[in-house]
Structure formats: C-alpha cells, structure tokens
Symmetry: C2
Subunit: 190 residues, 2 copies
C-alpha cells in the first residue's frame, strides 16, 4: 500500500529500541479515510479465509479492526484489558506482554460473543513480536473457535512476529513491512 | 433512530444501579454496519457545528467517534488513559470518574494533535453523568481549542449529563434516550 508507506515515511518517528511512533494517523490521532482504506485492503487480502468474526485487542486495534470488519460485513469483538462492570458473564483470559505499555497485560473476552464454530480473523495495528496476536489466538482456541487469518497494518520484521505466529498455520497479511529501524532510520519495504 | 432503539430494547440488559449492558453491538462486540449508521447520523445532526476534529476517550468511544469522523471527513483524536511509550511529547491531562470502570481515570492527549484553533466535536458512547465528556472539554480548553458540539450514542437522562454539560453552551445530540431504568426495565424514548 503506497498510501500507507508514504505516511509512515513522512510522519513516522523512530523513537529507538524498535519503537515506531505513528500517532499522527494510527495510534492517537486517526485519519478516518486512511483507516477505511486500510480496512478495505485487509478485507481484500483476507476475505478468502471466510471469517465469521474479527477479533482484536483494545485500544489501538479497534480502529483498523472496525474498518476491516465493516468491509467484510462481520461483527467485531475487541478483547478488553480490564473488565468493565458490564462484563458480568463468563470470560476467558490470556496474558500478553505489551511492548508499548511496557508490561504484561491480561486480555479477556466474553464467551457470549466469541463462540465455538466462529472463524476468527485477528486484526491488530502492529505485528511485532506477535505476543498480543498469539494471546488472541489462544483466547479463540479456548472457546472452541478457529483462527483463520491474521491481518495487521504495520509489520516490524526484525521482531519475528511472523515466525512466532507461524504455528497457527494461517495466512498472515501486513499492509506495510518495516525491514529495519537501525541507526534511527525507518526502512519500509517497497 | 429506530434501528438503535430496537437493538437496545431487544439486546440491552439492565444490570441494576443504572448500568445498561449493550455489549452485543456497542461495547465489546460491535456491529460495523450499525456503527457506520450511528456515525452518519451523528454527523448529519452535528455537521453544522463545523468541527475540525473529533475527540473521544478510549476505549468505547473509539468506534462511534471513528464512524462520525469518517462521515464528517475530519481527523479523530482519542484521549488515552495510560500513556504508551510512544507518547513522548507534551500532554495535557484531566481526571474523570468512570461509572463502568468504577474508579477515577486520567485522560491525556498530546498537544501535537489537539491544537489551538481546533473546533472540537466530542463523541462518546454514553451520555450519563458527563464526567468523561466534561473532562474531554477541559482538555480541549487547556490547549486553546474550542468545543463546538457533543454527540453520544445513548443518553441516560436520569443521570443528568445534559445538565452537567450545559455550561459548555454547545449543541448536544444523543441517538437514543433512555428515560428510565427503574424496576429492571429499559425505557427508550420514541
């Protein structure tokens, strides 16, 4: 996606230690038209997996997951990090280490909305170490749902997320692939 | 909005103490087509305020705010409750008591994206006591932006949010108005 690649190159900032700041259009401020395009492209690449549900984790996953779910016309479920008072039902939870929060977070989802038989497409903003994504996959498996695909906006190949998620044996799509952040640079694959 | 009213009446659950569970389409699972319609209707009612930016708070505000921002074709900024490592810049913060989290939360926003001169439309899922909304308004005022309108999906009139936000002197729109949750019922205004 040339549009995304240009935004990363123009607006992204390399904060060091592999942390890419794209808060101007993806993580804090959101460009809605770009987000719709990202969702459409994720849907185009992954519709063949025939998902019945999109699954993501709050917070930064919600916008791309909503855009993809809209394009695929399936419901979206976002795993929560803290149960709100309205989560009065059975939940399943899994731990994941968050890079950008700098700690272990618990992801939880209601068994009312993630169901046995669901074909689950996991969508997230980043594919880095795949800690969040593999935790979401374990959540899906716990309820008897089947993970059918993974879609992310930005992949940092040097953090090995693709290898870490390979055991799931599903298609993995990323719309922009960062090949290096060495020496303060941001290298995005053509 | 008849579509929303029916979803609340069919799927909403009164958990007592004024807590309305609409996790099947708004707060945990999201129906993307409904969400797009909600955003379009909020945009239709509030476009006359000529916003330059939509402001919401993570987590549950993001989906309706994204849908409204897409319909209005302006950027969305979501205030964060915890600063991620990528928030390396000046932030302003405000405290708000969350009903559904049962505690005081801090909302923070980067001064890179909420700017002096911005005309800010605040969008959130619920208008209850308006604690979150008035905290977002204070954030906007702190950076020299101007709040021009407030739009929410569901208003609980008996929690007085409209009165609590009246000092802002801007249009307030809600797409569904709950007039009573007494005796385990859910009464939605026609």
């Amino acid at each position: 996606m040339q549009e995304l690649r240009e935004r990363i190159l123009n607006e992204g900032r390399n904060l060091g230690k592999g942390i890419l700041k794209v808060d101007s259009f993806l993580n804090h401020q959101i460009d809605p038209q770009l987000m719709i395009h990202l969702g459409q492209e994720l849907a185009r690449r992954l519709a063949h997996t025939e998902p019945t549900k999109v699954l993501t984790a709050e917070t930064s996953g919600i916008a791309p997951a909503l855009a993809a779910a809209a394009a695929l016309d399936v419901p979206l479920v976002f795993a929560r990090k803290r149960p709100p008072l309205t989560m009065d039902y059975t939940i399943v939870s899994e731990a994941a280490r968050s890079r950008t929060q700098g700690k272990v977070i618990e992801l939880m989802v209601s068994t009312e909305y993630l169901r046995p038989g669901d074909r689950v497409l996991i969508i997230d903003d980043f594919l880095a170490t795949a800690q969040t994504i593999t935790a979401l996959a374990r959540l899906a498996e716990k309820v008897g749902a089947r993970v059918v695909g993974i879609g992310t906006v930005i992949e940092k190949v040097f953090e090995n997320g693709r290898a870490n998620a390979q055991h799931l044996n599903v298609p993995i799509e990323s719309l922009a692939v960062i090949t290096s952040m060495d020496d303060g640079k941001i290298v995005v694959a053509e």
